[in-house]
């Protein structure tokens, strides 16, 4: 596909299945929900409409600072996975699925409304292979239910008026721009709450901006009526394995003081999550996957020819890269050499950080088309 999707949107998802809250000892929380259990069976891997691959995995104790938002988004998991590295890393196999909804992380902007300078309007680019609804929440609490099977995200904005979802059609690179009467008015909120770098801290309070994309199963008739999200019974069999929601958590990158006259408030995407088959996954980047899936910024360029250095396994220089080192998320190995690395080394070839496990992405190649 020759559509443009930025590289930064390539992500990995780690499972955050809600467990019944019976683990008071868990030091960390996700959202406002205490004690998310980190699921250990990794099986879901995930691809963007055009390029990315997302995986779920058991643990991400990350010391990797690269990628805006990634550092902060992993920190909350450290408590749950702070165990010592295994002598021989486990080999984990994953399959890829398409991400049908995606907000491009680098496209999110908060721009001053020229007609009403008190407020700022949210703008971002997103991709969707289906029609659906987009809802923007300001200063929202994550009130998603803590059942074992999660049916939908649930956000509570600070002011009780529920935001009105905007319908969208299928399409790549769609621009969303907020209606003028629904903008973000920073004066309404406490400064200390607005600006919080630490996501764990932030999640105890409220997220400044949450963008929720929702796919509608049989969209065309339904979104006109703006029905509530379908219940489990309504979810058709074809819904299985498909992304129903993507939530994008946006934070401000600097205090508002000094920005009184600025045309734009700097923001960044702190985290993205998707909901598939009743499970919430956190999206995280895989480093090196853009070489494998071709440059989407050049329409028609397609995936690079086999034989180009960057897409080949760093060890044998012969087979395509299809295995990612975890937790550092460097996609640099073929599955054969990954097996070799498991027994011969405990360090990532790229960054030398300890290897916890290796994730084989089975159909990465076919998804690159």
């Amino acid at each position: 596909m020759g559509n443009t999707t930025s590289h930064s949107d390539l992500s990995v998802a780690s499972t955050v299945r809600e467990a019944p809250a019976n683990e008071p000892g868990e030091p960390l929380s996700l959202g406002t929900r205490p004690a998310p259990a980190v699921e250990t069976s990794a099986s879901g891997l995930y691809t963007n409409p055009t390029d990315g691959a997302f995986v779920q995995s058991s643990s991400w104790p990350s010391n990797n600072d690269s990628g805006a938002g990634i550092g902060s988004s992993v920190s909350w998991l450290q408590g749950g996975s702070g165990r010592a590295a295994q002598p021989v890393p486990t080999m984990v196999h994953a399959y890829t699925i398409r991400n049908e909804l995606n907000v491009r992380k680098k496209s999110v902007r908060l721009i001053r409304d020229p007609d009403n300078p008190q407020q700022f309007l949210l703008e971002f680019v997103f991709d969707s292979t289906c029609s659906g609804l987009c809802t923007v929440y300001f200063m929202a609490k994550d009130a998603t239910s803590r059942t074992t099977r999660v049916e939908q995200f649930h956000f509570q904005p600070l002011d009780e008026t529920r935001p009105v979802p905007t319908p969208f059609e299928a399409g790549m690179g769609q621009l969303y721009r907020q209606n003028t009467h629904r903008g973000f008015v920073p004066q309404k909120y406490r400064q200390s709450v607005l600006f919080e770098q630490n996501l764990t801290e932030l999640s105890k309070h409220r997220y400044p901006i949450v963008i929720l994309l929702q796919r509608l199963p049989n969209a065309d008739d339904e979104w006109a009526e703006q029905k509530p999200p379908p219940r489990q019974t309504e979810a058709s069999a074809t819904d299985s394995g498909r992304v129903r929601f993507q939530a994008t958590y946006v934070t401000l990158t600097m205090p508002l003081k000094g920005l009184e006259l600025a045309e734009e408030i700097p923001v960044k995407v702190a985290q993205q999550k998707i909901l598939v088959d009743g499970t919430i996954y956190e999206l995280q980047e895989i480093y090196g996957i853009e070489e494998r899936t071709g440059s989407p910024d050049e329409p028609g360029s397609g995936p690079p020819a086999v034989g180009e250095t960057d897409e080949l396994c760093i060890i044998c220089m012969t087979d395509p890269r299809d295995t990612t080192v975890l937790p550092c998320r460097h996609l640099c190995l073929c599955v054969d050499c990954a097996q070799l690395l498991r027994v011969r080394s405990d360090r990532c070839p790229i960054c030398r950080s300890p290897v916890d496990s290796l994730l084989h992405i089975r159909n990465l190649r076919s998804n690159a088309r």
Binding site: I314, I315, C316, T318, D319, C332, L341, P349, R352
Partner: protein, 150 residues
Amino acid sequence: MSGHLSKRIMKETERLAKDPVPGISVTAHDENARYFNVILAGPEGSPYEGGVFRLELFLPADYPMQAPRARFLTKIYHPNIDRLGRVCLDILKDRWSPALQIRTVLLSIQALMSEPNPEDALNNEAAELWKKDAARAKEIAHQWTLEYAR
């Protein structure tokens, strides 16, 4: 021994021939594809400038899981290279990674010639002098270059 890994050696050798590094010549031995004759030009601005240094490089059986072995055949006065030509370089030891290659190893050795590290000495005498009187040490290194590295 995986066939994969021998393929890597072939690829590296091909690539070195096709796209050589300036100032470095690498030739595989006729009868042993894991043994290489290397010629390094002394880096500009270093006491080794103008010298031509011969090295041998050997890839162990489980390369690239294990680092290559490199040794100077040309006599050189350097804090991190001993009289047998052995090189003290972290990436040839505990800092080795299979992401590194023959090319990167030789570039690192060239960089080490430009920037000796007397704190991590293999040739103690040279290292001491380098710390005490760098100018004098460099003069000796230059003399050795003129004498041996022709």
